[in-house]
């Protein structure tokens, strides 16, 4: 018994120790993660973010250095009040700010670094850098911010902003305080532009001093610089488009039909991209974001989905020819509208009657297209089947679905099919007369400006298009084949010529006869779309939207364009003028129709936009008068009232 006391105690102690070691080293210890190891300092080296150029090689976006003070809360040692005061003075923050920021960082993670004070000025950085060593747990991280070399194209270029926890959770590449593309090209080409940051692992000692590279630096990586990208945007045309859009709301999309390259992508109202850089970013962003009336962050060229109106008629003409339900010579009567029995299904404006296809397009005759449309649907015994075949043709122009391209936002638009009406009216409880609005691009059909521009490109190409895209070249990479492979419509090439001629005649003798540009053969189509809005839950009609779709020259087009101006009234009034000017500007490089330009620049729609919010009754369309502004300055495209 006496012999056993020490013996059993030794065995017992041995077992307890091994159990404790098991608890410490196996049970409660997670797999070794060097990023969690406080003995290893991680130094990030951020690469240069790729530059952005326009199609002519003009630099649009470059970089500028920025310095953030970062904090690792666990390593912060308590400071006496004097030292704290010095630190706060250096950073230009108050003691309360200090506590708040430290709490927030600790809340995120005591072990990982968080930004403490961001984007120091250069002078602050110079002073602070000398003294940083004194403040344990804090260090300065150099980053690169964007420097915009232009004031245009905010919606195209987008901006970069700080990652949030959701992004970090999904993409572990990013760490707190990193910057990521938030909109536009910065977002879609984030991985190309950002490059790959380098990291250095440094062995620290317990006094937080570097004592050398960890394992001779075998895990260190060099930063890989981001690649420069060249956009398809023509910055001159973009700037001109933004100028024309001043004091208006809407979108302009201009494409090169021979490649699908986006030449201009205007959204009005716009803002200066420099507003979203640096310390002012978050304040300006929330100002833009909370402007729910003008919605400057809403890219109308890509996202705004409107009934396309008359330009859609040419699609119906093409489908009718393909389905062989009409020939180009057949005439239809128009009695200021289309009558079904004695019921007037749709109205029309005054023009000579009867009309065949050419005049039907040139004069934008509603009755003609209702006739044609009904023939397409009624060709088959079942209206649903007719509707499906019609929808299929229309969708082959890139309508009714996302374009699947390299733009960060978009809308599907809408091309209704048989199922759609079966759901709305009940199976087979509807016929072609129910849905004649589709014939003239109203009703259930909806499209975005970029879809309409693409539609114009497909017509100009006589039956095919390239997916509209914004990337022209990435340093050392070949372009995705989806941008270089043509997509064919379901309409035979031979059917396009008469339709194109009709669109050409829109300019020659039709609804856009006043918008001709000397020396350029433009084919286009005006459009006017009715516009409703709910004011205090009462659906109220507002002034129509002005729409114009065109391509030029008529043969082998160089530019296809869709212009959409909210509340602009009829098609040739605002949109048509702007389309003509854009086309001339792009093809000739200068503008001869200065009368059109002057008119556009001196006419504002701001009072029109203010009406629904005035709280007073107001008039629309023909009963309104346009607001004329005297002072306009070419070159001042930034109409945002936000101070930088």
């Amino acid at each position: 018994m006496r012999k056993l006391l020490l013996f059993t105690t030794v065995i017992l102690v041995g077992l307890v120790f091994i159990a404790r070691l098991f608890y410490l080293q196996v049970y409660s210890s997670s797999a070794y993660d060097i990023f969690e190891d406080t003995a290893i300092r991680k130094e990030y080296n951020y690469p240069k973010r790729g530059y952005v150029y326009d199609r002519n090689g003009e630099l649009l976006v470059a970089n500028q250095p920025s310095y953030d003070v970062m904090v690792i809360p666990r390593e912060v040692s308590p400071m006496d009040s004097l030292k704290l005061l010095e630190f706060c003075t250096l950073l230009k923050i108050t003691k309360e700010d200090y506590d708040k920021k430290l709490r927030r960082a600790t809340n995120y993670s005591p072990r990982l670094s968080s930004p403490f004070v961001q984007q120091l000025s250069k002078t602050d950085y110079a002073v602070l850098q000398e003294k940083m060593r004194k403040f344990e747990g804090f260090y300065i991280q150099k980053r690169s911010l964007r420097s915009y070399q232009t004031t245009i194209g905010a919606n195209v270029l987008g901006s970069i902003g700080e990652v949030n926890r959701t992004i970090i959770g999904k993409q572990p590449y990013y760490r707190m305080g990193d910057l990521i593309g938030k909109q536009g090209v910065e977002k879609t080409y984030e991985n190309t532009l950002r490059g790959v940051k380098g990291i250095k692992f440094i062995q620290k000692d317990r006094f937080n001093k570097n004592i050398g590279p960890y394992k001779e630096g075998i895990y260190d990586t060099l930063p890989k610089p981001g690649k420069d990208v060249t956009l398809t945007i023509d910055s001159e045309l973009q700037a001109y488009g933004e100028l024309l859009m001043t004091h208006k709301r809407g979108g302009i999309i201009a494409l090169d039909p021979s490649s699908g390259e986006i030449l201009a992508m205007v959204s009005g109202p716009s803002y200066n991209p420099n507003l979203l850089v640096g310390r002012e970013r978050s304040r300006n962003f929330s100002k833009l974001y909370t402007d729910t009336i003008a919605k400057p962050l809403f890219d109308r060229g890509l996202k705004a989905q409107y009934p396309p109106g008359s330009p859609f008629k040419v699609i119906n003409a093409l489908i009718a020819l393909q389905e062989d339900v009409v020939d180009t010579q057949e005439r239809f009567k128009c009695r200021m509208g289309y009558y079904y029995g004695s019921r007037k299904l749709t109205g029309c404006h005054h023009h000579r009657s009867p009309v065949a296809m050419n005049d039907g397009i040139a004069q934008s005759c509603n009755a003609y297209f209702v006739n044609v449309y009904r023939r397409i649907i009624d060709k088959y015994d079942d209206a649903g089947k007719g509707m499906n075949i019609w929808a299929n043709h229309a969708k082959s122009f890139g309508l009714g679905n996302f374009l699947n391209n390299d733009l960060s936002v978009g809308s599907k638009g809408r091309i209704p099919d048989g199922d759609y009406y079966d759901r709305a009216y009940g199976d087979n409880r509807w016929g072609s007369t129910y849905i004649v609005s589709n014939a003239i691009g109203q009703g259930e059909v909806e499209a975005t400006p970029i879809q309409l521009a693409n539609m114009a490109a497909a017509i100009g190409n006589r039956g095919y298009y390239y997916t509209p895209h914004i990337i022209k070249e990435i340093e050392g990479e070949t372009l995705d084949s989806k941008y270089t492979t043509p997509k064919y419509t379901t309409i035979d090439k031979r059917h396009f010529e008469p339709v194109v001629q009709g669109m050409f005649d829109v300019y020659n003798k039709g609804t856009a006869a006043t918008l001709r540009v000397p020396g350029i053969e433009i084919a286009g189509k005006t459009g006017t779309a009715e516009n409703f809005m709910k004011i205090d839950s009462v659906t109220t009609q507002l002034t129509d939207h002005s729409i114009f779709v065109a391509f030029a020259p008529k043969d082998n087009p160089k530019i296809a364009i869709a212009v959409f101006v909210e509340n602009g009234y009829w098609g040739s009034r605002f949109a048509g003028r702007m389309a003509s000017l854009m086309i001339e500007k792009y093809i000739k490089g200068y503008v001869t129709r200065t009368d059109l330009e002057r008119w556009i620049l001196t006419h504002s729609l701001e009072n029109e936009y203010a009406k629904p919010y005035s709280g007073e009754p107001f008039k629309i369309n023909g009963e309104t008068t346009l607001q004329v502004i005297d002072n306009y300055a070419i070159g001042n495209t930034n109409q945002s009232n936000i101070k930088q």
Partner: protein, 426 residues
């Protein structure tokens, strides 16, 4: 020829192999814990690992020296060796050198010697000598007091030199006394006092009084046949509660602030978060760093010379008292369990050999060796992994330092020599 072979292999090779493994593995960890940057010269005496290599080399000279003496020499000269050790301890008050507030070293040139490391084997020899005396009977109070005096003298001297950790080591001799006939009641009293002290500090005197009353009442009721007078039980109860209260008073007023804090951390007595935060940066700093280093080792460790905390010297004293944290970080659970097993095997081996001795002197001495190694191992390793309050004593054969290594080597190898002589005993 046969006799020659017998003579050569009469030492207990298992003990020697365990010793070599511990020293060898210890050296590797000192290398890891003390190197800065690349190691160019393993014999560089300006570096701790270089010095330790020289200490280890001298250790083998020392072993040969120890083994070459007659076994009887140690028994015969035990008292003189003890006296020399005591004189060396006393001499510290005059010639000693202060290091970290403790006056435990002699400085000889650039070298320092710590006599307390050598006092352990000397005391073990003296205790063995006294107990093995034919006239000694450990069951008598007189001999109990005398033998306690033998360990009390060096313990007191060491305590006066401000080295409380090394003083605690002398409690190891309790195991020796118990083996040699100390009454069981002492064991019960010792255990009771430990429980009373810990429970009293942790849960307060009132709770202790309640529990003690219940336990004593239960004992009284269960012992129907010879329960004796009820007054005895009441006296025991009063003493228990009084002791518990005394411990509390001593904890609050008798201990130095840092000792108090160490116990407070161990029993998790501190509830004020601000003070706790400050303690984490001061008293608990070593412990937290050491636990983190051990934890980060996981199953197999980060590899020899690859520990990030060891390389960064995050654990203060990591080459001496906290060397086990390096083992934990670089060799992981497997490596540190291996070290625990080595120590357990060595102690059990010495115990086994001690029991097989024919002479009482050898047996008592062997027991002393096992007990001292056990106390050092338990307190040091337990402290490094956070099971025991911080007490600064080295891990035998592992911790950096010549005095410690030589002290333990002499302690062990005198026993190896005594053991090798048992065939000559009768």
């Amino acid at each position: 020829m046969l006799r020659e072979n017998q003579r050569r292999f009469k030492f207990d090779w298992l003990t020697i192999i365990l010793f070599l493994l511990l020293v060898g593995f210890g050296y590797l960890n000192i290398l890891s814990a003390s190197h800065v940057g690349e190691i160019t010269n393993y014999f560089d005496t300006s570096e701790l690992y270089g010095k330790q290599l020289i200490f280890i080399g001298l250790t083998f000279v020392l072993i040969i020296f120890i083994l070459s003496f007659e076994a009887k020499f140690y028994e015969r000269f035990a008292s003189i060796i003890y006296m020399v050790a005591i004189l060396a301890l006393v001499g510290l008050f005059i010639f000693g050198k202060d290091v970290n507030g403790a006056r435990s070293w002699y400085g000889i040139g650039s070298m320092t010697i710590q006599p307390s490391e050598f006092a352990k084997f000397a005391t073990a020899l003296a205790v063995a000598k006294y107990i093995s005396d034919l006239q000694t009977n450990m069951r008598t109070l007189k001999d109990q007091l005398r033998v306690t005096a033998i360990i009390f003298i060096p313990a007191l001297l060491i305590l006066l030199q401000n080295d409380a950790g090394s003083t605690i080591v002398y409690l190891a001799f309790f195991f020796v006394f118990y083996r040699e006939g100390l009454q069981q009641v002492y064991l019960i009293i010792a255990l009771s006092l430990i429980i009373l002290a810990v429970v009293g500090l942790k849960f307060g005197v009132v709770a202790t009084a309640v529990v003690a009353t219940l336990v004593i009442l239960a004992t009284y009721l269960l012992r129907r046949k010879k329960r004796g007078s009820i007054f005895q039980y009441i006296i025991v109860l009063i003493i228990s509660v009084g002791f518990s209260y005394g411990v509390k008073l001593f904890y609050e007023h008798g201990l130095k602030a840092h000792q108090q804090n160490r116990i407070s951390l161990w029993l998790r007595l501190e509830k004020d978060p601000a003070k706790l935060e400050r303690m984490k940066k001061e008293e608990a700093y070593n412990l937290i760093q050491s636990e983190q280093a051990i934890s980060s080792g996981s199953w197999t460790g980060k590899g020899f010379l690859q520990g990030t905390r060891t390389t960064g010297k995050f654990v203060p004293e990591q080459e001496t008292d906290y060397i086990f944290s390096t083992v934990g970080e670089e060799w992981g659970f497997l490596g540190s369990s291996f070290v625990v097993i080595l120590f357990v095997l060595l102690i059990i081996r010495v115990l086994y050999l001690a029991e097989s001795q024919k002479s009482q002197f050898s047996r008592v001495y062997g027991y002393g060796v096992a007990s001292i190694l056990f106390i050092h191992f338990t307190i040091n390793t337990g402290m490094v992994m956070g099971l025991i309050p911080t007490v600064g004593i080295p891990l035998p054969f592992f911790s950096y330092g010549g005095s410690g290594l030589w002290g333990f080597t002499i302690l062990l190898f005198i026993f190896v020599k005594l053991d090798s002589n048992k065939i000559n005993e009768w």
